[in-house]
Symmetry: C2
Subunit: 279 residues, 2 copies
């Protein structure tokens, strides 16, 4: 397991990796969700590269860039024994030199949901993933379904820009009580942590009424909102029932729909989602 910071060392190291190369981009402070991506890459690829980079370009001016949790030695410990060949930990100066000026924008899919409250977020994501793909040159790249809109943006970007990279989406890993794993869970107080299961419960309730035949999207959103509103520590920012491919809000569910939400627990903003599919 080699840890590398410069782009040049990465490119040199990349030459000697057996192909196919599987790639897991992360912002560090790893949890079992990240490890599930690494494990899947290990199963499917001859080599595995992990990047650890807290990407400033995907944080808004009032977001948590400075306090975002970082602990490289803890991350390296978690990855030891996971079969990773190469870990790339570039600095912000390597990724964004002072005269940096090139941006990748996925126009439609970046606008709704997270895009409304985080206007430049997906521009930052698409740009850094382009840079990471070009530097690492993987055959396969692994992302978690937890960040559903990010997955939609990256799949579209990869197709639109002809990246020769297969995008593989892995299931959200959850705590036993249903809370989706996230590096931001570390911000939660004990009371907020207990209340944070409300996202999972709202999504599960919506899925239950869907399975009972409900197809009206307003009714589905209503089920989620009602549950969220019953939790005094939770403040919903949005609740969505959208087309899986376009992310357009639906009136009636046909085919695949994406339920998603952003909810504040105190100052901590959590997101979660569920895919509904007619069988």
């Amino acid at each position: 397991m080699t840890v590398i910071t410069s782009l040049h060392e990465l490119q040199t190291g990349r030459v000697n990796l057996a192909e196919p190369v599987g790639f897991v981009p992360t912002m560090g402070y790893l949890h079992a969700g990240h490890l599930s991506l690494v494990q899947r890459a290990r199963q499917e690829c001859a080599s595995v590269v992990v990047s650890i980079f807290v990407n400033p370009a995907q944080f808004g001016p009032n977001e948590d860039l400075d306090k975002y949790p970082r602990n490289l030695s803890r991350d390296l410990e978690m990855l030891a024994g996971a079969g990773v060949d190469l870990i790339w930990t570039p600095t912000a100066e390597v990724m964004y030199p002072s005269d940096f000026q090139t941006w990748v924008t996925v126009e439609g899919l970046s606008q709704p949901l997270e895009g409304i409250v985080r206007p430049d977020h997906f521009r930052g994501v698409a740009t850094v993933v382009t840079k990471l793909f070009n530097a690492v040159q993987p055959q396969k790249a692994y992302f978690g379904q937890k960040d559903a809109q990010q997955v939609a943006v990256i799949r579209r970007m990869s197709r639109d820009l002809n990246f020769p990279v297969e995008i593989i989406v892995c299931p959200t890993v959850r705590e036993p009580d249903g809370l989706a794993l996230s590096s931001r869970n570390t911000y939660l107080s004990p009371d907020e942590r207990a209340a944070a299961t409300i996202l999972f419960r709202a999504l599960s309730a919506a899925e239950a009424v869907f399975k009972n035949g409900e197809r009206n999207a307003d009714a589905i959103r209503g089920v989620m909102l009602e549950i969220l509103q019953a939790e005094p520590l939770a403040q919903a920012q949005y609740v969505s029932c959208a087309d899986y491919d376009t992310l357009d809000e639906l009136k009636m569910i046909r085919g695949r729909a994406l339920l998603s939400m952003a909810v504040f627990l105190g100052k901590t903003r959590l997101i979660d989602n569920r895919i509904l599919e007619e069988t």
Copy 2:
């Protein structure tokens, strides 16, 4: 020499090419300038790929997309015997499917000069070059100095996005009387063609006063403008003396400067440039 239209065939064909692969992206209607790029690629690389694609995304709504000259059989004839391994001629539908929505923007360098009169031009260029690079995966890519701002944009984009592609810039090829080769020269009437040497003459005069010690950028621009204004068939759109790297307009020339201009001959818009360098 294999001619391929689909992305899938290109990717299949690419696997069997000896590396390094040299790539010459073109909009077709080839001339000796394009052939000089192919020749250089042939000298430096084990395989050569040429793309022919009139990229709609780099034409403005009132520009010459529809009448831009096209003649594939003539292009293929010119490339026969040039040592090209693979020619990719994608359709607009392959490159821009109806739900295409991802754009690459080089912010600063796209704005001055051509960017003022062609606001989305370099977004179209940067996006198509990203797509072509990802599809062809060359080790080296060849561009003509004739399109000086395009070269600046692509070099910056390639560096900013970590493309593992060496950008090689080749000298402008000219007619014996100095006119820079361009597919658009075919639009010129005989009178306009005769008057079109005015761009070369203005640049040469500016270089001469520079070599005589003139460093004031306004004086240099003045020399070019005066010559252009003396030609009744020519109408200058802009005349620039800018920093070579940033494209910012200069007051005084220090280091490398880019002289450039856009001039109408009737309805035909021609560009040309010259690099000035203190020795």
